[in-house]
């Protein structure tokens, strides 16, 4: 093969990687291992591509030509060629992501987009590949390329956009349902769930058809449950889905290890969104407040600030909950905390009679920010809630940076001279440790 051509391919691949990174930011956490995997097998994928260059023909060379042609006469659109390409992409055995990455440059063309979904669905039915995880991966990669335009544009009279949306609607629905029926790897599952509420559900003709998928994915547990809850929440919000257990499920998902998972920021952002309504019953919010403050008790320091702020925001939204920090009966002694942490039902956990002792205990936390955030139990509630966004992603590193950047005029020193490493004042280190 000519060396120049190979070089060109490499650059294209890089461009794809860059494009992915720029364009798709929703699946930040689980993208990286896959990408690295794609880079690793890049060499043999390239080989395969070279062999299978024929069905695509001289596609890269006819770039300019196809542009001109499509502009001049529409009847000459190479639909069959496109169908062939899709059939190649939807392999049930081999990973075709590199090829799809190359194809992604054509998706900018209006005609490809218009005919794409239809051809894809025909290719899928015609070829009828074996359902496998690889197929699911390939299909997902292709489907991800088709961004449906918003309805607004259709109203504005943009004919091209309207055409795609109207014609493609049915195919879009069926293709996604087909994808969801395929076996999915956990990573792909997460990516699908992330993509669903933002880019798929709003454009489906009948989004309620995904309800079963979402509810069954909730059973998987962990992050997947949270992500599926987001889809369910969308359906409840926009399509009147009746789902009474939603908040009790969310309640059961709030457990200490949720704070230590990599999806912490997304999870708590969603929790904030789910609980943002002022029309939620007070007993329910009280249960969440109590649950969150229990979480805060054992959470790592950066998450603690976020949790406390979230609790504070909930109190601001539901001012009746002030009795949890300021008992109208005055300080009353109770035999134990009326809140039962083991109770799964937020309605019966008795949170409404409890107080926020947990937050009060965190007042003397080591990290000053946490202590300061917790001071809201001693003061008047603020009029506005605190924005949660910048706290969601705080880590120890950020705290460290901030502390190390702080300048100090004169630094305090100790005033007891140590005798040695372990002998110092009334130090207790020497009881447990020796040199």
């Amino acid at each position: 093969m000519p060396p120049a051509r190979k070089k060109r391919k490499v650059t294209k691949k890089q461009a794809r990687v860059n494009g992915l990174q720029n364009g798709d930011h929703t699946n930040g956490a689980d993208r990286s291992p896959e990408d690295s995997g794609a880079d690793d097998d890049g060499a043999d994928a390239g080989e395969a591509e070279d062999i299978l260059q024929l069905p695509v023909g001289d596609d890269p060379d006819s770039d300019g030509g196809s542009d001109d042609g499509s502009g001049a006469e529409e009847t000459q659109f190479p639909a069959e060629k496109l169908q062939k390409m899709f059939t190649f992409m939807l392999s049930s055995t081999e990973d075709r992501r590199d090829f799809i990455g190359q194809f992604s440059q054509h998706i900018d063309h209006e005609d490809v987009r218009r005919a794409g979904l239809e051809n894809l669905s025909t290719a899928l039915t015609a070829a009828a590949p074996e359902p496998s995880e690889t197929l699911a991966m390939n299909l997902f990669s292709v489907l991800k390329l088709f961004r449906i335009k918003k309805k607004k544009k259709r109203k504005a009279g943009d004919d091209a956009g309207a055409g795609v949306a109207v014609e493609a609607g049915e195919h879009f629905d069926s293709l996604w349902l087909r994808l969801l029926s395929l076996p999915l790897t956990p990573a792909l599952y997460r990516r699908v769930l992330i993509l669903l509420p933002e880019r798929v559900l709003p454009h489906l003709q009948n989004p309620l058809r995904l309800t079963d998928f979402l509810l069954s994915s909730y059973q998987i547990g962990g992050v997947v449950s949270v992500l599926s809850l987001q889809g369910v929440f969308y359906l409840m919000q926009h399509h009147n889905l009746e789902y009474p257990d939603f908040y009790s499920k969310l309640y059961s998902l709030l457990e200490p290890n949720a704070l230590r998972s990599p999806q912490r920021a997304r999870f708590f952002h969603l929790v904030d969104v789910f609980l943002s309504s002022g029309y939620l019953p007070e007993y329910l919010v009280a249960a969440f407040v109590k649950r969150l403050s229990r979480l805060a008790l054992t959470a790592p320091a950066p998450a603690q600030t976020m949790l406390i702020r979230l609790v504070c925001s909930l109190m601001v939204r539901h001012r009746g909950l002030q009795r949890m920090t300021d008992d109208p009966r005055g300080a009353t002694t109770l035999p134990a905390d009326p809140f039962r942490a083991e109770e799964a039902d937020p309605a019966r956990c008795g949170a409404a009679d409890s107080s926020l002792w947990e937050i009060k205990s965190l007042r003397g936390h080591l990290v000053p920010q946490v202590g300061r955030a917790a001071s809201f139990v001693e003061r008047e509630l603020p009029q506005l809630e605190h924005p949660l966004d910048e706290l969601l992603e705080t880590t120890y590193d950020d705290l460290m940076e901030a502390e190390l950047e702080r300048s100090c005029a004169d630094v305090a020193l100790t005033f007891h001279r140590p005798e040695g490493l372990l002998s110092w004042k009334e130090d207790r280190l020497s009881t447990d440790w020796k040199l």
Binding site: K360, Y396, S407, D410, A412, G420
Partner: protein, 822 residues
């Protein structure tokens, strides 16, 4: 000039006239008085304008206008006027002759104006035969007054009052009165003559003496014995060169020597009384006071969060406080106390806790004192010794090599010597060198830890122990150097922490750092106060420890001991401030979980927090392999085990469990008073209760039960939260405004200046009103006058016309009569 003066003079004259208008006779017609009736008459009150004389005042005003305004009106369009200035013309009661005489006198005066004080040239005044001009020279100091012509008292007694003739008649009766008088005159003349002669002689002698004295003086001035006058001295200073040449030639002036001596004496340094050496007890007392102050400052820094946020401590206020910001007395109140039998005045100031600012100030003061003391020492050093500027520091390799070659104690001695030789008062460059030395020391400490680890792995336990001993011995030296460097040390540590953190982050896998980081973090806690609310060094250090505990999984002995060491460090750092670190509790939960027997683990798995795993090999890390109830248990873990990669043995497990239990007990004890302590330590209690202690040795079992007891002693009892109630705002009650000196008059409020200003404004308004009124009346007067003028002119015209017409009628009549007669 004369013209310009005219109207002024005239106006003055008229004004005088106007003011002197008076009623013709002092008595008033009672019908002319008008009374302003009062609605309520107050006894003894006198109001202005109670009664008025309208007729009189109107007449007065009219007269005044006639004299001033009318006159002006009449001369309004006229630029000149004749003024009669003949002397005596207007003076009433002056006869024509007097007038003539006065005019003549004035004429004479005018003519003699130039020679009014000119005495004639040829007349010359004399005194005792000498012209006054001669006398005025006053050349002769001798006064003629000296010859006193006053008669002697004896003579007066004998000769006056007719006594002379009568008393002495008996002795010389032959003399007649004339003879007697002649004789007396002759005696008198003789006496005067003698006196004059004596005077002349005296004068002559004085002259002679003066001459002699001048000659003697000439000798003195030539020898320059006399102290020069100021002017001479000034002249000499202004031209120093010839003068100095002169003085060098001649002997040194005695006055200069004297002055020098005096100056020497005045500026001689006087030796003050030196401080006496302090006794041991005093030194101890001062040290104790210093420590107390530092401790107060530390506690202040520890409690700083009340200032940052949170409710401020309620300041006591009386229930009667009016919220008007009035403080009775902010100074420390003195109170009387009964001590024994006597009353004593005590002040409360000493017991009050310091405010934050005071503490800061105190800290600064102490620091300043320290610096001042250092400077003073430095000055002394400079004054006493002239040492070479600085000692050259070796490079790090050489430095560590020399240190490594020595025994631990010698190492610390060597470094201490190096520090002394680099004292900053010896050379200003030494400070920078000290900082370099500090950095090298930190590096060397890290190296020591590293070496101890390396030898531990290879099995040379001795070498590792030596390295750790060296570290142990160097800590006091590092402490001293830190005290000396202060801020620079802080910067070193911050950069060290930054490096540590970066090194930790760089690794993909989260692993506990090695001993060189952990032990230096310990040293860091010894050098900087960890109890501060937010210390620039210890705060990041503690955050780093928390991060390690949260992120690093525990899978082997090294990680387990490192984690336990981190927990110990955090517990130690927060021991004074008593702050809560949930990460330590979470970590201990994970550790204790791995000691729970496998069959009981699933029920407790919910208490295991990531990164600890509820399943797998790491969940059984602390399961004993054999029954150790009889085997010995070392209650203390070795620091060096943090480094070693050796597998866990049962004795290690026992030590780890002991340390973990001790830490759990320590934390539970410290935080048992927290409102959520039961929730916080509940999992720990459950985990510890689930552990099978029968296989543990007695020491550990005792520790375990003691710890469990502490944990279960935490009561689940709760008191509901209540915020500090805001004080209800009291109704504003006003004090009755009691005036000290009540005189029945209401005074306007405000300062003296304001009152004066108001008074002036009031006056101005009144004046303005009256002026406007006057102007209006003037206008009315002028209009009336003009109308009167017009009327009178009209009348005149009519009268003339009538006269004319009547004369014409007469003529006509006459003419007709003559015609008829014809």
């Amino acid at each position: 000039m004369a013209k310009a003066k005219k109207p002024v003079k005239r106006a003055a004259g008229q004004a005088e006239k106007v003011t002197s208008i008076k009623t013709k006779d002092g008595r008033l017609n009672p019908f002319e008085i008008h009374f302003n009736k009062q609605k309520h008459s107050v006894l003894g009150q006198h109001l202005p304008g109670e009664r008025g004389k309208p007729g009189i005042s109107k007449a007065k005003a009219l007269k005044k206008r006639k004299l001033t305004l009318l006159r002006e009106l009449k001369t309004r369009t006229k630029s000149n006027e004749f003024v009669d200035r003949r002397i005596g013309e207007k003076t009433k009661g002056m006869s024509a002759e007097d007038r003539l005489a006065a005019r003549f006198a004035a004429e004479r005066k005018k003519q003699n104006k130039q020679t009014l004080f000119n005495l004639e040239d040829n007349t010359e005044l004399t005194h005792m035969g000498q012209t006054l001009s001669e006398i005025e020279k006053y050349e002769d100091p001798r006064s003629d007054d000296e010859g006193d012509d006053a008669l002697g008292a004896e003579f007066v007694k004998s000769a006056h009052f007719g006594g002379g003739l009568l008393s002495k008649g008996g002795s010389e009766p032959a003399q007649s009165r004339k003879e007697w008088i002649d004789k007396m005159i002759a005696e008198s003349k003789l006496r005067k003559y003698e006196a004059r002669k004596a005077l002349e002689e005296t004068l002559e002698m004085t002259d002679q003496l003066d001459g002699g004295f001048m000659e003697v003086m000439k000798i003195f001035t030539e020898a320059k014995v006399i102290r020069p006058t100021r002017r001479e001295e000034r002249e000499r200073q202004s031209s120093p060169v010839p003068a100095s040449g002169e003085s060098a030639a001649s002997a040194p002036a005695p006055s200069e020597d004297y002055d020098q001596l005096v100056r020497l004496l005045t500026f001689e340094p006087r030796v003050g009384a030196s401080d006496r050496t302090k006794t041991d007890e005093e030194v101890r007392r001062e040290e104790a006071a210093r420590l107390r102050q530092l401790e107060e400052a530390r506690q202040q820094r520890m409690r700083a969060d009340t200032e940052e946020g949170g409710a401020r401590p309620a300041v006591h206020r009386s229930a009667d406080d009016l919220d008007d910001g009035f403080v009775l007395d902010s100074r420390p109140q003195q109170r009387l106390e009964l001590v024994g039998d006597q009353l004593l005045v005590t002040s409360q100031a000493a017991d009050e806790p310091l405010t934050n600012r005071q503490a800061k100030k105190r800290q600064q003061k102490l620091q300043k004192q320290r610096e001042a003391a250092e400077e003073a020492e430095g000055e002394e050093g400079e004054a006493t010794s002239d040492r070479p500027p600085s000692v050259k520091l070796p490079g790090f390799k050489k430095f560590s090599a020399t240190l490594r070659a020595k025994l631990p104690l010698d190492q610390s001695r060597h470094v201490a010597d190096l520090v002394t030789s680099l004292a900053p008062n010896l050379s200003p460059a030494n400070r920078a060198q000290l900082v370099t030395l500090y950095e090298m020391l930190l590096r060397y400490l890290g190296q020591c830890c590293h070496r101890s680890a390396g030898s531990g792995n290879t099995g040379e336990a001795g070498c590792g122990a030596v390295a750790l001993r060296a570290l142990d011995a160097l800590v006091p030296v590092v402490y001293d150097l830190t005290q000396q460097l202060g801020d620079a040390a802080h910067r070193c540590w911050v950069s060290w922490l930054r490096d540590c953190h970066a090194a930790y982050r760089r690794r993909r896998r989260r692993l506990f750092p090695r001993l060189e980081t952990l032990l230096l973090l310990r040293v860091c806690g010894q050098l900087f106060p960890s109890s501060d609310r937010r210390h620039p060094v210890t705060m990041p250090a503690m955050l780093l420890l928390c991060q390690l505990l949260t992120e690093c999984p525990v899978r082997c002995r090294r990680e387990l001991t490192a984690g336990l060491f981190c927990v110990s460090l955090l517990a130690e750092f927060t021991s004074l401030s008593g702050r809560l670190v949930p990460e330590t509790i979470a970590f201990l939960q994970g550790v204790l979980y791995s000691a729970v027997p496998t069959e009981r683990q699933p029920a407790l798995a919910g208490h295991v927090l990531l990164p600890h795993q509820p399943q797998g090999p790491s969940a059984a890390l602390l399961h004993l392999e054999t029954n150790c109830s009889e085997s010995p248990c070392d209650p203390a873990l070795s620091v060096s085990s943090v480094q070693s990669d050796a597998p866990l043995t049962d004795s290690d497990r026992l030590s780890c469990l002991h340390v973990a239990a001790s830490l759990a007990g320590q934390l539970a004890e410290r935080h048992s008073a927290l409102p959520a302590a039961a929730e916080l330590f509940g999992p720990l209690r459950q985990l510890m209760a689930a552990v099978d202690v029968r296989r543990y040795p007695a020491i550990l079992r005792n520790k375990w039960t003691a710890c469990l007891k502490t944990l279960s002693a935490i009561s689940a009892e709760k008191t509901t939260l209540e915020k500090n109630k805001k004080r209800p705002k009291p109704l504003r009650l006003y004090e009755p405004a009691i005036e000290e000196n009540f005189d029945g008059r209401r005074r306007r409020p405000g300062s003296h200046e304001k009152k004066e200003h108001d008074k002036l404004v009031h006056k101005y308004k009144r004046q303005m009103r009256s002026t406007i009124r006057e102007v209006r009346r003037d206008n009315a007067f002028v209009a009336r006058q003009k109308l009167a003028d017009i009327k009178s002119r009209d009348d005149e015209r009519k009268r003339k016309l009538q006269a004319l017409m009547s004369s014409l009628a007469d003529q006509e009549g006459d003419f007709k009569r003559m015609k008829r007669q014809k």
